[in-house]
Amino acid sequence: MKRKSEWKRTAVQAASLLLHNANLKGFVTGKIYQGDLKQVCVPGLNCYSCPGAIGACPVGSLQNALQKSKPSFPFYVLGFLLLFGALLGRFVCGFLCPFGFVQDLLYKIPFFKKIRTFPGEKYLRWLKYVVALLLVVALPLIYTGVPYFCKYLCPAGTLFGAIPLLSLDQLLSDQIGPLFWWKLIVLIVVVLVSLLISRPFCRYLCPLGGFYGLFNRVSLVQLKHTETKCVHCDRCVPVCAMGIDPKTQFDSTECIRCGKCARVCPTDALRLGLLDLKKKKEEQTA
């Protein structure tokens, strides 16, 4: 069986993690970066309170715009989100997002059992839209002053922000209370479940992934399936990072464009590429 290596994607993910967090001296001093670059939203889920972060988290920035007592329409943050979504769709998740990369690394660790999907998977996947509408939009708008997703759920904030900052800053760590322990439990659960199933946070909870998924059908980066080349061997199915069937769900909101399926396809029926501007007859359109 032809099996192309995954190292190139891993290298891009590692480079993206470094780029999102290029303020390396922050990990020594315990101070966050405060330069002008921080007004630019990054594509992936990366806490702006990470000592290394050089950009703004789009989910945090969106909640910040909405939680004000007189919120204004968040043109600026939505502009970034629309551009990232239209150009890349969930390719952001497959290649660029630091928290997605962390989950991929965790899933590579041998564990007594790996599973492809949970019972009730179809319904669990809707949770991320509930999280987006409730914790990112509705609650910050109604009960102003609190970024609910950041405060009660985001495990990226705990991993990239809380753990390094609190271990470097005594004044901050003196303030640890029940909220921190709650957030740590959320992170530990996400880490443990990531050993068992690929990308659980991305599948079920991430509002950013849910948003980018809405663009998958029209984004410039596409996963393409050529029906005439497909021999229906189903080799792509067990390797899918998101537990979908790539040959029929290549356009799905769930696909993170990781290209794992394309790498095992023996006939190149699946391919990661750009939206064709010129018409090609054999390519299947949904």
Binding site: Y33, P147, L172
Partner: protein, 48 residues
């Protein structure tokens, strides 16, 4: 969705994204983003 529809939707979304970004910059919203991002977010790190 047909290829032409995808291309039109992509073009429309890119134009909308660019327009939103420009309006946001015009309204000074990047300053709001900056001022939040350069302060430690206590909620994010679980102590606020």
């Amino acid at each position: 969705m047909k290829r032409a529809g995808r291309i039109a939707a992509l073009g429309g979304l890119l134009a909308l994204g660019a327009a939103f970004l420009s309006v946001g910059i015009g309204k000074g919203q990047m300053t709001e983003v900056l001022s939040k991002a350069i302060r430690i977010c206590l909620e994010c790190i679980g102590i606020g």
